[in-house]
């Protein structure tokens, strides 16, 4: 439900980068999207097509999403485990003293010009 807002942010940053690099047209945008970033890539694509085509510099520009698997780290037994599979509780020692290592990214990796 918030993908359109995210798309406006991506467009703003891509246009800024295009301007800084004196780019005439952007053909592709590559995103790193974390598995637990709460973004649904399919919705992001739909919103992207609608919004990007309204911008001259982004007409027809493809959005590619690399999905970053989420991993959580356990402070007690120093192990790493899959966040989606186990949540916040460490499957090795049962500890709740854990934090997210990666998987929350909503990042523009690169643009193709």
């Amino acid at each position: 439900m918030h993908e359109l807002g995210i798309v406006f942010y991506i467009i703003r940053d891509v246009k800024k980068a295009a301007l800084e690099n004196a780019v005439e047209h952007v053909y592709g945008v590559v995103m790193n999207i974390g598995e637990v970033s709460t973004i649904v890539p399919e919705y992001l694509q739909d919103c992207w097509r609608w919004a990007a085509d309204k911008e001259e510099i982004l007409k027809g520009c493809q959005l590619k999403c690399n999905i970053i698997p989420a991993a959580t780290y356990c402070e007690d037994c120093q192990s790493e485990f899959s966040t989606v599979e186990h949540g916040k509780i460490c499957p090795h020692c049962g500890s709740e003293h854990t934090y997210l290592l990666r998987g929350n990214e909503v990042e523009i990796k690169e643009i193709e010009v």
Partner: protein
């Protein structure tokens, strides 16, 4: 086709907003103005709760309200009529949340030299507002009994960023399968430090506790 060149960017799309938010917070600190970001689902009773709270604190501190909605100004008008304090309406232009820049633009319409507390009533939504730092000093949210005690499990980010969770509509508790203790447990799983305040905005029950917390917060912000 022309040759395609790749420009590496490697930048979180939230980065600019986080910088804007920190700058706004620093500015508010200098001016001695406390900004509360109040969030909830649509229909949880944000506006009714605000009216109750404001009427309890408006003689002690100077309050203003910014109402953010996708459209209409019913909430801003209602607040002004029921409390007499300055209340402005912001339209998000279809967006489901406010970011720091939109908040700053809204604050430009508030006479900051003449207020101690600005309450920002964010768009009714438990997802997007949680992702965008508005530049507020604290985040609070209202969860109402009919929504169910499992909401902290379904919207983890919202509950993990809130310093206070107000539980509204306690008067209808007998008619719903809402378990207050379970709800507290789930909230504390997301944020062990979150304060939980059960209220009934319609009757005013419990609202004093929320008002006391808010007065204390404003006082600390101005004096520390």
């Amino acid at each position: 086709m022309e040759e395609v060149k790749v420009i590496e960017i490697k930048k979180s799309i939230f980065e600019d907003n986080e910088k804007d938010a920190d700058a706004l917070r620093a500015d508010l600190k200098r001016r001695g103005v406390y900004l509360l970001n109040l969030m909830s689902s649509p229909g949880s009773g944000k506006t009714t709760t605000l009216i109750q709270v404001i009427n309890r604190i408006k003689d002690k501190i100077r309050v203003a309200v910014m109402e953010a909605d996708i459209d209409s100004d019913v909430d801003a008008v209602k607040i002004k009529e029921a409390t007499g304090i300055p209340s402005i309406q912001l339209h998000t232009g279809g967006m489901c949340h406010l970011d720091a820049e939109m908040t700053r633009q809204g604050l430009d319409n508030v006479d900051l030299a003449d207020v101690d507390l600005v309450i920002l009533e964010n768009v009714g939504n438990l997802v997007c507002p949680a992702e965008f730092d508005t530049g507020s000093c604290r985040n609070a949210m209202i969860l109402s009994v009919p929504e169910g005690h499992d909401k902290p499990l379904k919207y983890p980010l919202m509950f993990s960023i809130c310093d206070v969770v107000v539980i509204n509509k306690m008067d209808v508790l007998p008619y719903f399968d809402f378990d207050l203790e379970k709800c507290k447990e789930y909230i504390h799983m997301r944020n062990p430090k979150a304060q939980v305040i059960p209220i009934c905005a319609k009757t005013g029950e419990g609202v004093d506790a929320f008002a006391t917390w808010l007065l204390q917060e404003v006082n600390n912000w101005k004096n520390q």
